[in-house]
């Protein structure tokens, strides 16, 4: 996600600097979009078709990222209040309310410039029911065309031919034509293929970065640190040379950390001790992101893997974008996003991560706003404990509504959980 680090060690890594520049450039281009006659497409992170969008010279905007940015900048509380005042229910997704509130407050984006209005809403209906309503709402506000891409759900852990065909057919007959209409030109399949090749390369490096966590100590934090790593690949940059360069740099930096047996960087500097290796399920809290991170890092807990970082694409089970079958692989990519997977598959993936990364425990951050993630997590908790034998922790918070982050309560639960792990370790050792 395009986020900034507030507390930094003296020298920024090259990859971090590159990422900052990429994001700044992107928002700068967005701010000039209207005057330059560039067309803007709003879409979602799960099932984002960045290669397609950029191949047609369109600029993508991701309202989810705007919302999480607002959360990190402590603006979301006020935006949500605006939306609720306008009649939106307290029970619904706070990303949506934050977006509505931001719109009503002038639609100023994370970098302080006004975001351009959409020329098209690409409703990538992947893994989340709320997306449908979100863009229905935005359509009412902007009165612009919407194109629906219904990505069928994978209840049984496999992509059938019918599912793939349905997505490919929609791409061919509805999505691409809609994008072409907005762009005023035809899609060049060769260009698309070229971008997919670049995606493939970046994905290889990203997976290597994820897998570096197998080392002891893990050189990365696969959750808090991980949300920075997924920024380029899940937002406007997959399929670009910039992204390839970023992930290549990142991989090299991580490899170097492994050589030097270094742990990850935390908000308080270099992690000195890897006391607990954890897998985390669920999105992070954005309004208190660094506080939340510190609750882990200060106890010596490193997150070795997470599922949220697969929400915009799952690559470590083998999938890569494939330039030889562009539309098929775009379809498979969408179908494979984490929240589009059935609960049994998600549980299996978590089990795999816990075992592969030799986790001491796993934690579920159950987020009030997100039923897609949250409904069923309590069953997943019990099932994973049974299958892996490691204890599961359970905390509750929200995406961007600051009212739902109870610092004392969360700290209490986390500390109790980690002390429990500690006590268990002592027993196992003795």
């Amino acid at each position: 996600m395009s986020t900034e680090k507030n507390t930094e060690p003296a020298a920024k890594d090259a990859s971090q600097l590159r990422q900052k520049r990429m994001i700044a450039d992107h928002f700068e281009r967005l701010s000039r979009a209207k005057e330059e006659g560039k067309k803007v497409v709003y879409t979602f992170v799960p099932g984002n078709l960045t290669e397609l969008i950029r191949s047609l010279d369109l600029l993508p905007v991701l309202p989810e990222i705007n919302a999480l940015q607002s959360g990190m900048r402590k603006l979301s509380g006020a935006y949500i209040a605006e939306a609720e005042k306008a009649g939106h229910s307290e029970d619904v997704c706070t990303y949506v309310k934050c977006d509505i509130g931001m719109m009503k407050s002038g639609n100023i984006g994370p970098t302080g410039t006004k975001l351009p209005e959409p020329d098209l809403l690409l409703l990538s209906y992947t893994g989340c029911f709320t997306f449908m309503k979100w863009f229905e709402l935005l359509r009412e506000e902007y009165n612009c065309p919407v194109v629906m891409l219904h990505v069928p759900y994978q209840p049984d852990g496999r992509i059938t031919d019918e599912m793939r065909k349905y997505v490919v057919d929609q791409l061919e007959r509805e999505v691409i034509p809609a994008l072409e209409r907005v762009a005023g030109k035809k899609l060049d399949m060769n260009d698309l293929a070229r971008r997919l090749e670049l995606s493939h390369r970046a994905e290889d490096d990203l997976v290597a970065v994820w897998e570096s966590a197998r080392n002891r100590p893990s050189p990365i934090d696969g959750y808090f640190g991980g949300v920075y790593y997924i920024g380029p690949i899940f937002s406007a940059f997959r399929g670009t040379e910039d992204a390839v360069a970023y992930y290549s740099e990142l991989r090299a930096e991580v490899d170097e950390r492994v050589r030097q047996k270094l742990g990850p960087t935390t908000p308080d500097g270099l992690a000195m001790e890897e006391k607990f290796r954890l897998v985390v399920e669920g999105p992070p809290n954005w309004t208190n992101f660094h506080d939340f991170w510190r609750m882990f890092s200060r106890e010596g807990a490193t997150v070795v893997s997470s599922t949220y970082t697969r929400v915009g694409g799952l690559y470590d089970t083998g999938f890569r974008h494939n330039p030889e079958h562009p539309l098929d692989s775009l379809a498979d990519y969408c179908l494979g996003c984490y929240t589009n997977l059935g609960l049994p598959s998600r549980t299996q993936l978590l089990e795999r991560y816990i075992k592969d990364y030799q986790a001491d425990g796993f934690l579920i951050n159950s987020v009030k706003s997100c039923n897609s993630f949250s409904a069923g997590q309590l069953l997943v908790l019990r099932e994973l404990e049974k299958r892996t034998g490691v204890p599961g922790g359970f905390i509750e918070s929200d995406l961007v509504d600051p009212r739902y982050f109870g610092k004392a309560n969360i700290e209490n639960r986390l500390q109790s959980y980690m002390q429990m792990l500690d006590a268990r370790k002592g027993k196992v050792a003795s």
Partner: protein, 401 residues
Amino acid sequence: MNDQPSTGAAGDPAAELLTRARRLSDDLSFGAVRDWKAGHPGRLAVGYMPIYAPRPLLEAIGCLPVAVFGGGDQLDIIRGDSYFQSYICHIPRSKVELAVSGRLDLFDGMLFPSICDVIRNLGGMWAMLFPDRYGAYLDLPQNFDPELGGRFYAGELRRIAGGLRERGALPLDDDALRDAIVRENTRREVLEELDELRCREPWRVRASEAYLVARAGGVLEADAHTKFIREFLDAAREREARVYDNVRVVIRGSFCEQPPFGLIKTLEAAGCDIVDDDFQLGLRSIEGPIQLEEGQDPLDALARAYVLNGAPTASRYIGELVKGASLIKQVRNANAEGVIFAAASFCDPALLDQPMLEAALDREKIPHTSLKFSENTGQFQVIREQAGAFSDAVKLWGSAA
């Protein structure tokens, strides 16, 4: 507050039918399903979550489709709550409670249509809790091109028919499906008669009564339900009834987790004639009869009916339609004076739709109010007052103010 027309009392020709309907709706042991299975040995009973299931398909392969609406307000949730956080609606809890307490053991299969993420994930939970039982997600299409979404949906229907075949259902047969569609269309027709009667003469048939009669169909084959509705209509037409001066309202938002029966009665007692609603959406998800041409593939017809004539519900993409247009049409057709949004707490589809629908009503100056419930809400005082105030305001000023 108005007195109620004397229905259901001694001397009411429809009393016995209503009692039967109430029993069928309330029976959490699904006695009617048990009886059906006993009378049709070897045949399968397939449950489904609310909103929509392709009942004719299920009947065509010899199954009894059963709507499982959750535990209502009669079920103590002991274990169901341990599966869900507090900010998730109530119906999955009672569904799980029914399941783990064995009450759903008699079902040979369970369908989970794509209503929302909670029900979607519930399907996955089902697979994990009962790996040996047949459970299937029904991915209703959000693309309404018959060649695209329609074809995908036909594939879904075939997949489910195939899955049930493996469990002992009959093979999918065109003639059987044709017949089932015809029977469904007949039931639909008769249901429309009921809706029309209760809309035109709410003093003769209360919405709460029409509700029971419609809901009873959840455990009956189409034919049996048609017969039941016809009996009720005959009895209702013989009733003595006085006209009362209530406000005519449309209820929106209660399509999945059902409001407790007492809530519907409370609204009526507070001065509202509920002239249209979306309570039993599953039976009215397709607008009008399923069009079936001579020589047309019936599965194709069923699929087309859904994509081309599917009702714009909260769980369905609005596409090219205007948001709120169908609600306004509903209000006009029913000659209603206002809309009450009654959504289950935490219901994403209903609550996310609501602001858009309210805006549409505002543009047409149709008064509205809104409330939330859960299927086991026990006290209606606040709702009574709110509904009463709304009906009074509409009567006096023609607005919600």
